[in-house]
């Protein structure tokens, strides 16, 4: 047991010192792995955070109900009664055309162009509007509610604010599928790259393999250093990917949080997605291991080692 452990430590030391002696090429291969792992992770992070954002927004669904511009007070009262009766509505409030007009003028005061445009309008073009919070956040029942409201008398337009969100989220789920495809392709590329690197090492280590074989080394003994090398490339490459990810997230975090702020959400981008980082590192190690296993097995077969 102790010997077995020692043997692995010995091999690890040997492999590390070889990597140390070939610092530049080791760095290059790790960089390649790092970048290749970084790309799909970034996509993933973007899609994941966006879909969290859209989930969030789908929750506070609001239906805007714009009345006809010429609707009179009685008609407004009638709509209000209808809304109060409706079981699907949690609450609603009315913004009259005068209130809306005032708000528009207040808000536009800071922007010269808009305020010019507004003052050119002269008279109030805005309709009375109800803003309605539904009880359910289920898309189908929301659409049904919207259609019902649309058919009320003196209603010009019922607007479900979440429609674009829904479209975005279905786009995002397409994006997720795309990511797993890209990740799969990159995994194959990495297998080839790592396998090739290990194959080159096997060539430079040909004498060692031959001598070891002649003096009674088993196949697993001969394989071991190369498997370690592959796994270590994966480990270092994976760590590099994680570092790059952290750097990139940090760089964009500011603008992302600004965007989130625009939607007045308590939404924040996770900087340390530990699960993602672990997944990146573990899959990089596995790819390294498998790539070098394939390479060394083929080499052993071609050297006719028996």
């Amino acid at each position: 047991m102790n010997n077995w452990l020692n043997q692995h430590i010995q091999t690890l030391k040997l492999v590390l010192s070889r990597m140390h002696n070939n610092m530049l090429s080791t760095f290059m291969i790790c960089l390649v792995i790092g970048v290749a792992m970084c790309l799909p992770s970034l996509f993933y992070l973007a899609v994941d955070n966006l879909s969290k954002l859209t989930d969030h927004m789908q929750k506070d669904t609001e239906i805007s109900l714009f009345l006809k511009v010429d609707a009179n007070t009685d008609e407004i009262k009638e709509v209000e009664r209808q809304l109060a009766k409706n079981q699907g509505i949690a609450n609603f409030h009315l913004v009259t055309k005068e209130e809306a007009w005032q708000q528009l003028q207040t808000k536009s005061r800071s922007n010269q162009e808009i305020s010019d445009a507004v003052s050119q309008l002269g008279k109030n073009p805005l309709p009375d509007a109800f803003f309605i919070q539904a009880k359910s956040s289920d898309p189908d029942s929301l659409i049904r509610l919207k259609d019902t409201l649309q058919n009320l008398p003196s209603v010009e337009l019922a607007l479900l604010n979440t429609e674009w969100v829904k479209r975005l989220s279905s786009l995002l789920s397409l994006g997720k599928k795309l990511i797993s495809m890209i990740a799969g392709l990159l995994a194959i590329v990495l297998l080839v790259i790592i396998g090739n690197t290990v194959r080159m090492q096997i060539l430079t280590q040909k004498d060692e393999i031959e001598v070891s074989n002649l003096i009674g080394a088993t196949r697993s003994f001969i394989r071991m250093p190369f498997l370690y090398a592959g796994a270590l490339y994966g480990l270092f490459g994976g760590l590099m990917a994680v570092l790059m990810l952290i750097g990139i997230i940090q760089a964009f975090n500011l603008s992302i949080s600004q965007i989130a702020h625009l939607y007045s959400n308590d939404f924040s981008v996770t900087l340390f997605d530990t699960q993602l980082f672990l997944a990146v590192i573990i899959s990089a190690i596995s790819i390294g291991w498998i790539g070098s296993y394939i390479a060394v097995s083929r080499a052993i077969a071609s050297y006719k080692i028996n």
Binding site: N3, W4, N6, Q7, I9, Q10, D207, E208, E210, V211, S212, N213, L214, I215, G216, A217, T218, F221, N306
Partner: protein, 237 residues
């Protein structure tokens, strides 16, 4: 211990290098293997070390039939031997100490125990002070002794040496022979190929001579260094 029964060896596309050879080597023997260059000395040693398989006939090592061994058992058979290759096969990317420790690692011996044995082996061949040196910086005779240290470090019961004195001048060669005799003295079986057994021997030895694929044997009696082989040959065929 080593038994050949009607062994024939042919490489793919070659003629029969060894034809119908039978012999028996007991534990503790010191055997010279002679023959001109290309006669098949290396081939015979490779058959013993199970790095080549016979085309026909049986090779028994410690009563195990090499041809019938599973591939996974071959490495363990090979560990019984200390191999000294005609071309050394030293690893030039690592120092003397690391060269010699390789068979121990293969055997699963590591750490302090391994280091102790490596130094003992280097000491036996007089290279203790060179453990950190790279093999390329050693003289021909020193490289050959390093190869011997690597062959004996895991304490094999059989030493197979392929022309270990081939390219060395006489005084180096005598050193090497002294080392082999010392191992033989403590019970190690030594089989050594050479193209001039007579120049080597300081005592009575068994000589196996390969010619045209056939094996003839004689005893080498006295250290008459200048004598022609024919004068001391006693063919047993």
């Amino acid at each position: 211990m080593i038994q050949f029964d009607k062994v024939t060896k042919r490489y793919p596309g070659s003629d029969e290098i060894l034809k119908n050879i039978s012999f028996n080597i007991d534990a503790g023997e010191f055997v010279f293997l002679t023959g001109h260059s290309g006669a098949g000395k290396s081939t015979l040693l490779k058959l013993i070390a199970a790095t080549e398989r016979p085309t026909s006939g049986t090779v028994l090592i410690a009563n195990q039939n090499v041809s019938q061994l599973k591939p996974s058992a071959i490495p363990f058979l090979r560990r019984r031997f200390g191999l000294i290759f005609q071309d050394h096969k030293l690893l030039y990317d690592r120092n003397c100490f690391e060269n010699v420790i390789l068979p121990l690692h293969i055997n699963g011996v590591t750490g302090q125990e391994a280091a102790k044995r490596v130094r003992a082996a280097l000491d036996k061949v007089g290279l203790l002070n060179k453990e950190k040196a790279m093999p390329i910086t050693l003289s021909g005779g020193e490289q050959q002794r390093l190869a011997i240290a690597r062959a004996v470090v895991s304490r094999p019961s059989i030493l197979l040496a392929d022309e270990p004195t081939g390219n060395l001048d006489a005084s180096y060669a005598a050193d090497i022979m002294a080392i082999f005799y010392a191992f033989n003295q403590v019970g190690v079986t030594v089989i050594m190929s050479t193209h001039d057994a007579l120049g080597m021997s300081a005592r009575q030895n068994r000589v196996m001579h390969i010619n045209q694929g056939s094996l003839t044997e004689h005893l080498l009696k006295e250290p008459h260094l200048d004598q022609a082989p024919s004068s001391v040959e006693r063919f047993t065929s």
